[in-house]
Symmetry: none
Subunit: 201 residues, 4 copies
Amino acid sequence: MANATTSNRPSLRHIGGDKREAIMSAALDLFVDRGFFGTTVPEIAEKANVGAGTIYRYFDSKEALVNELYRQEKQRFATNVIENWTPPSGARELFRTLWSKMAKFATQHPKSFVFLELHHHARYLDKASIELEQRMLALFTGTVIAAQARRELKDAPPRLLMALVMGAFVGVVRNCVEMSEPLTAADWQTAEQCMWEAIRA
Amino acid sequence: MANATTSNRPSLRHIGGDKREAIMSAALDLFVDRGFFGTTVPEIAEKANVGAGTIYRYFDSKEALVNELYRQEKQRFATNVIENWTPPSGARELFRTLWSKMAKFATQHPKSFVFLELHHHARYLDKASIELEQRMLALFTGTVIAAQARRELKDAPPRLLMALVMGAFVGVVRNCVEMSEPLTAADWQTAEQCMWEAIRA
Amino acid sequence: MANATTSNRPSLRHIGGDKREAIMSAALDLFVDRGFFGTTVPEIAEKANVGAGTIYRYFDSKEALVNELYRQEKQRFATNVIENWTPPSGARELFRTLWSKMAKFATQHPKSFVFLELHHHARYLDKASIELEQRMLALFTGTVIAAQARRELKDAPPRLLMALVMGAFVGVVRNCVEMSEPLTAADWQTAEQCMWEAIRA
Amino acid sequence: MANATTSNRPSLRHIGGDKREAIMSAALDLFVDRGFFGTTVPEIAEKANVGAGTIYRYFDSKEALVNELYRQEKQRFATNVIENWTPPSGARELFRTLWSKMAKFATQHPKSFVFLELHHHARYLDKASIELEQRMLALFTGTVIAAQARRELKDAPPRLLMALVMGAFVGVVRNCVEMSEPLTAADWQTAEQCMWEAIRA
DNA sequence: CATGAATGAGTATTCATTCAT
DNA sequence: CATGAATGAATACTCATTCAT
């Protein structure tokens, strides 16, 4: 693709990278709809159009594969949601921004989102994966507490508010994945308005 | 063997019932924290204190076991939530009632709740299990539509509202399961109030 | 077999034991003529007339199997050679006794002997197996040194004398295994006489 | 690529020969301490500092590689031991000569010696390799029989005597490989003296 | 009825070999 | 010629299921 500027250099740099991506993409799809244990390595290989052995040139094991996938997707999520993070003055604005960024991400990468949700607390996640998860959590918690201090959010346990909002968000995404029809922008806005009313002071 | 002497005592039939329950209970626990494919039949047997072969006297297969478990728990959930269903006059009251019944169920049987949530759309659920699921869904949908007609709920797609509420509820339950500390009654009430404000007109 | 004294007790005690033995015996044969890595687990299973999975009821892994086999055979060798170990007064007598016991063992269990020889220094032997090996070595070394002190053996490095004798013994056994025809008692005696002359003072 | 400019330099043909040697040398080392099945082709390639595919430019298969290696080493052994073979008048002298040539070979190429020993009767040796082995054996056998006719050696089955001597020799070599400390010239002489006394009439 | 030893189909993983560069 | 990424057949090992006791 955008390699116009390097067109005279054969795509040597890409060797392997393509396969690696194909494998991760196939794994994402399969893990989402069959679960980790429900997915076999040969299935991943077939879906990725590579030999079964090839997977092991890129990943130490099936477990290493989920973990790398988890971190990549979590990172992508974090990047999409938090990039250019200049916390707006008010909580209303902040919430709207976050929600719409999350919505955009979930719309563009619904599988990624569901995957992250499903594997949230799987026992095969390693330390690095779990830490990444917890760092994001801490970031949000801080923001909630600050907003509560300004009397913009209800005075409830931060984790409760976050659980409500994230749960509702996940509920919506799952619902549209299940029905395999994406939400309209209007629906996303409606949902956002609902959840803002759920948590505002 | 010695059952000739006890053939007139019908209560013996229940002895098997005990094992059946032990198996289902063990399976519930294990499925919740290892997943369906992550759980082995011998593990279930050991936790249930029965021989591995015994499981097959009560269930045709591992898959039949999840399905029966799913239906049993879904039924239990339905019974707990809907029993004595005399739809109160107003949506506010109805919502409060439903939420608190669900909260009570989720508090008393957290594993059941998480199990139902996790296996919601698993590919090993058979037709009967899926229908049961959809019947409950239809019931709720009808109620939502009726309330919207009375201008008591926001005018949003019913599935969206239900997804938000159920999602938020699940979010809260999962959160307290993860932290393995039950929510207080006050927290449940707070959450209910939040979500009511999310959906009310 | 010889269970006449316990004939009224069904051979419950033996359940599994038979299979375990069958597996070890099959493994011994195969390891001897194909090596450890050259032998597949299904091959062992087939030769032992058990399912492949059965092997894992008795042994944790293929590696655990070689190690148990090694220890069992080493033990058997030690028992056969050293039992009733009342070191005769003279080295001549001692040597004759040891040689003939080893010959008897090697004649009755040629595969065992070759197996021990082949796996002597394999990298898959665990600590316990190696220690067993070294304890026997130390025993012999001590005896040699004592005999040298009495001027009955040549004054050469004990390890050299032992290597010569054990090497020669192994050479003879291997040779007869290869030609698959057992040595006569006379040949064994001849060989013994040769090696005695090799080491005597 | 740039071989047009060097086409007139024949010595270039040897460059491949270097790789061939590197491969065989690496294979020798690895086969000796991990066995044939315990050694992987990529390992050999890495140790030889060539690409894995390169091995297949020089050898048809891994099996072809062991066989060529076997024949090469056997040949080298034969050459070293038998070259300038002018059978001395007496068996004593002959034995001393053979032993010291073998000792010299084993000292200079301990890996080669152990390799030949280990792979002696491996099932992956092909016909040509086995014949080479048997030709050497026949040569020795003839010499032994002749010496027995002259009453210089004990009157025992020739194969027995050869097995004793070769076994003892191997025992000594293995022992010093295991302890990874070479034998002194004196030790070699001692050993030779011992084994001569073992077989002389 | 209950058991758990036995099974073999199925899974993750390795490795000899090929082939595009 | 040389390479090493890619492959898939083969291997160690697991586990749902059966069945003799």
